[in-house]
Symmetry: C2
Subunit: 185 residues, 2 copies
DNA sequence: TCAAAACATGAGCCTGGCTCACATTGTAGC
DNA sequence: GCTACAATGTGAGCCAGGCTCATGTTTTGA
């Protein structure tokens, strides 16, 4: 049912898809659809949560020993590549989150907050001198800046997209270096 | 008329405001409203263009001799402070652009593109060794990353917001340094 | 076997964007 | 001043889409 809605949203956009269509495509009467979801927005929200959990899971991978022991440069590069790949492989994510921001800003915020928290928990493992405040601010910047950049990049021509991903890696590395490199105070 | 719509959108959000209400508040019949704007989205678009021009004008200020001769650090700091101030002083911008992204993505894209172009024209004045490609990629990153960061920061608690603005300045400076500092190749 | 509870259904309500037939005002030729 | 015609203003109502709820239909349990 969610999958049917997802496919429709991806293809034609949230606003253009009617609840009647979703119900018809899922081969259930509208009444039944409204027993599972209190309103149209809830369908979007359910999808959003599914996606955020998926992306969050990917981030978790960067909390593993193997990853944490990499040089910062490689770590950041792989991190961003992984996000880029997620966006490429999950076209629904974009379709859903483009809408979520306006239709349900709280849900969008909650999703970002989940990612920020995950990242805030990773940071001390890279440098245990960082204060909690630092970690929160850095995570915020990373999630909001990189999330938006990679998202916007994914809509560009492949060649330019490649370049933008590289720039994003540069941006992230240059930003994090002073906080995370051994030389930092 | 635009001002009436703006006030309503800021207060209650685009979706919650009906065209009938706008017409009533502006003391014109709906028919008349629809002579000025082909549809509800056009009102939003008109507001968006007004805002983008306003912000673009602020960016132009950073193409002046006086500004260009500043050290990169101060230049970047003032640049971002200026954007932050714009967001603070122009609550309508946020209300409008939160919607624009989904309701009229082309318009949103066009707005960003206008800012990117302006910035692409400034960059060679800071370092004339940069290729056109470099300039475009850097501008893209700056507009999308900083725009989003400052926007999201503006919804946070004042103290945290301050911190985020500082981090954004750091982010921008660290990113631009290799491209723009004399030492750079 | 039969109440009564639980669930499924889709006709239709309601709201909000937008239209268009009609009213009003403005213009020009006599 | 009067009439014909154009330009403009107006708001009742059309239509689509989100959502409800009265009415079946099935399940449960005594």
């Amino acid at each position: 049912m969610l999958d049917v809605a997802e496919a429709a949203f991806v293809e034609r956009g949230y606003a253009a898809v009617t609840t009647k269509e979703i119900a018809a495509a899922a081969e259930v009467p509208i009444g039944t659809l409204y027993q599972f979801f209190p309103d149209k927005g809830a369908i979007l929200q359910a999808l959003a949560e599914r996606y955020t959990d998926l992306l969050d899971q990917q981030l978790q991978h960067f909390a593993t020993e193997a990853m944490l022991s990499l040089p910062l440069k490689s770590y950041v590069e792989q991190f961003i590549e992984s996000i880029d790949r997620f966006f490429q492989d999950t076209p629904g994510y974009q379709a859903v989150f483009a809408e979520i921001t306006t239709v349900m800003p709280e849900t969008d915020e909650a999703g970002d907050q989940q990612l920020i928290q995950t990242f805030t928990r990773i940071l001390p493992k890279l440098n245990d001198h960082l204060s909690a405040e630092d970690c929160e601010a850095i995570s915020f910047v990373m999630v909001k800046a990189i999330g938006n950049l990679v998202w916007r990049a994914s809509g560009q021509e492949p060649k330019f997209r490649q370049r933008l991903v590289k720039e994003t890696q540069q941006l992230a590395f240059n930003y994090l270096s002073p906080y995370l490199l051994a030389a930092a105070g």
